[in-house]
């Protein structure tokens, strides 16, 4: 049973068919890369799954159970967390405050009634979480996020998405703005998520990164699912060909939706 399955997702903006009958699936402990040219529909698919911008059509299954996703809250309750490209962090707040933004822990007793924050518990959990993710480049979790580097900010955003204990994490272009060493940090972080048994979806234009981190590669082209590859057996050129539509990928490399090789 796949952790998350989407079937027949469609979405049009007026005359533009951004998504046409797209199926998508990701399993626990698996990293799926979602690739495609600009305007291929990647962000639109992610927005549908995370409830930010529901699709016109589409059915979803979470751990074998059919579910409805109409709002971000629906997705959140199911355990779907999305890290958007712009990260949505508050630069004026420290790492702890950003991690718990909107889900702050409150003190117990009279302090709870007065809605006093439990800074100690939040700081403790932040340290634990960052430790579990092997994020070691922060000198203090009380640093203002605005003063962090791009990679550190990305790490904070990813850690933040884990506060609600999600089971599917979606990352939109997590390495787009990063240098080499910071990209390596974020990719290591993604591998850590897989080790934790999470289902992970990564959107990226950088095929080197995709090949570094993904188990499967799903190619969208003009709003349709063009191809699916197993990272271990596919040469990069074949993925490029599928993205640009230059030629049909070699059939022996294609995988069916069930993950087995398609025989033509």
């Amino acid at each position: 049973m796949e952790r998350f399955v989407a079937k027949g997702v469609s979405k049009s903006f007026g005359a533009v068919e951004a998504l046409v009958d797209v199926d998508f699936e990701v399993d626990a402990g698996e990293v799926v890369a979602l690739v495609g040219d600009n305007g291929a529909g990647k962000s639109t698919l992610i927005k549908a799954i995370s409830g930010v911008q529901p699709g016109d059509a589409g059915e979803y299954w979470f751990e074998g159970e059919q579910v409805e996703i109409h709002t971000p809250l629906d997705a959140y309750r199911l355990g779907i967390a999305t890290v958007y490209q712009d990260l949505a962090l508050c630069d004026n707040l420290d790492v702890v405050a950003n991690l718990y933004l909107g889900s702050e822990l409150r003190a117990s007793g009279i302090g709870g009634t007065l809605r006093v924050l439990d800074e100690i518990a939040m700081e403790q959990h932040t340290l634990e979480l960052l430790g579990a993710l092997s994020v070691t480049t922060l000198s203090s979790v009380r640093t203002e996020v605005g003063s962090l580097s791009g990679g550190q900010r990305q790490a904070v955003a990813i850690a933040r998405s884990l506060i609600g204990e999600p089971r599917l994490v979606i990352l939109d272009e997590p390495t787009a703005a990063l240098g080499i060493s910071q990209t390596a940090q974020v990719l290591a972080l993604i591998e850590r998520l897989r080790e934790q048994g999470l289902a992970v979806v990564v959107i990226s234009h950088n095929l080197a990164n995709v090949f570094h981190v993904a188990d499967r590669i799903v190619v969208l082209r003009l709003g349709r699912r063009a191809a699916t590859f197993d990272r271990r057996t596919t040469p990069q050129d074949d993925v490029v060909a599928a993205i640009t539509g230059a030629s049909m990928p070699r059939p022996e490399l294609l995988l069916g939706p069930d993950g087995t090789a398609v025989s033509l």
Binding site: P72, L73, Y84, A88, L89, C90, D91, N92, L93, A97, L101, G102, S103, E104, R106, L114, R115, V116, L117, I120, A121, E123, Q124, H125, L127, E128, L129, L130, G131, A132, L133, S134, V135, T136, T137, L138, S139, S140, T143, G146, S147, S149, G150, R153, L162, E165, A177, L193, Q196, G197, L198
Partner: protein
Amino acid sequence: MSVLQQPPVVPVPEPAEDEGARRRLLRSLAEGELSALRVVLMLALIWMIFQVQEERFLSSANLTNLILQITSIGLISVGVVLVLLLGEIDLSVGAVSGLCAGVMAVLTVRHGWAPVPAIGAALALGCAIGTFNGFMVVRFGIPSFVVTLAGLLAWQGGLLYVLGSTGTVNLPPGPITDLAGTFYGAAAGWAIVAVAVAFHTLLAVRRQRRRAAAGLPSAGMARVVAGSVLLTATLGAAVMVFGADRGVPLAALILVGFVALFSWLTEDTLFGRHLFATGGSVEAARRAGIKVDNVRIVVFALCSTMAAAGGVMAASRLLAVNQSSGGSDTLLLSIAGPVIAGVSLFGGRGRVWAALLGALVIGSISNGMDLLALTSSVKYMITGAVLLVAVTIDALARRQRNLAGRH
């Protein structure tokens, strides 16, 4: 399996990409822990300058006067800080303080209301006006600048209307005038210092203990002791100065009490966290599920309520409400104070204590220039120059941050 249930591995602090000790110092002076120190230094400088020119400046009689002069502005500034933290502005605070004081005066003097309900009515009116301001900003997306600019005019008109043809309402001696006219003797003053220091120390010790118990880095007892000593010295000096004149003014206690209350609200509570988040990035706050509209409305309501409190205080000190109550420079000074003391006009950065420190700076300049018998023209120009310098520092700090933020 949950990520949160992993065995805790405390991250090894690596030397962060170094930004240079000098820049770090500059940055912390501009915005960090040291920004309060910067204001205190500025205040010391101002006091020195005036003391050299006029030896009565640092006399206990004049310092007591100074405190009485700044209570009203300080209270209004507390609300202004909240609005500034949101990244908004409230230009109607002066007019609202005048109108609410006018309503209180008319209710007591002409309609025979008891003082306490009349003060309550003034505060409630302030709260209602603020709620209206917030609603207009949130519901119709009108910039707060415009909504409150309209309010500035309208509420000034409201004051003229409630005062009627006489234009002035004198307050008879009573509980309202006692707010600014009550002074406590040295014994009471020292008792207050003892309670405040004990309370502060207890909280600080408890905090350090709990952090240590949770395995978190704590600043250590030396820091707690240093803080308590500093607090004792400050409060003790204040009590001695006040004691040499009329005693500890009730007005000062009210101001410090409100500052402490709102400090706690902004720094220790959920509401405060959401306020800072909204001021830092509305979009991030919204996506995090924070009801940013509610935060905004509450902040505008609190701001106007504090403006009303400031108006009541001003009426109490001047023993009257007249057509110029809350007018002239009330608005400008109550905004200039916090900005001078380091509250960012761009939202998300600053502390409520800046209301008190800023009022002290602004009030000292104005009081000193009065002692030197400078003309209004000079006074306005100097105050304007100080404000400009402060805002420039804010803008520079912001640019520094944007450069350092690398994105």
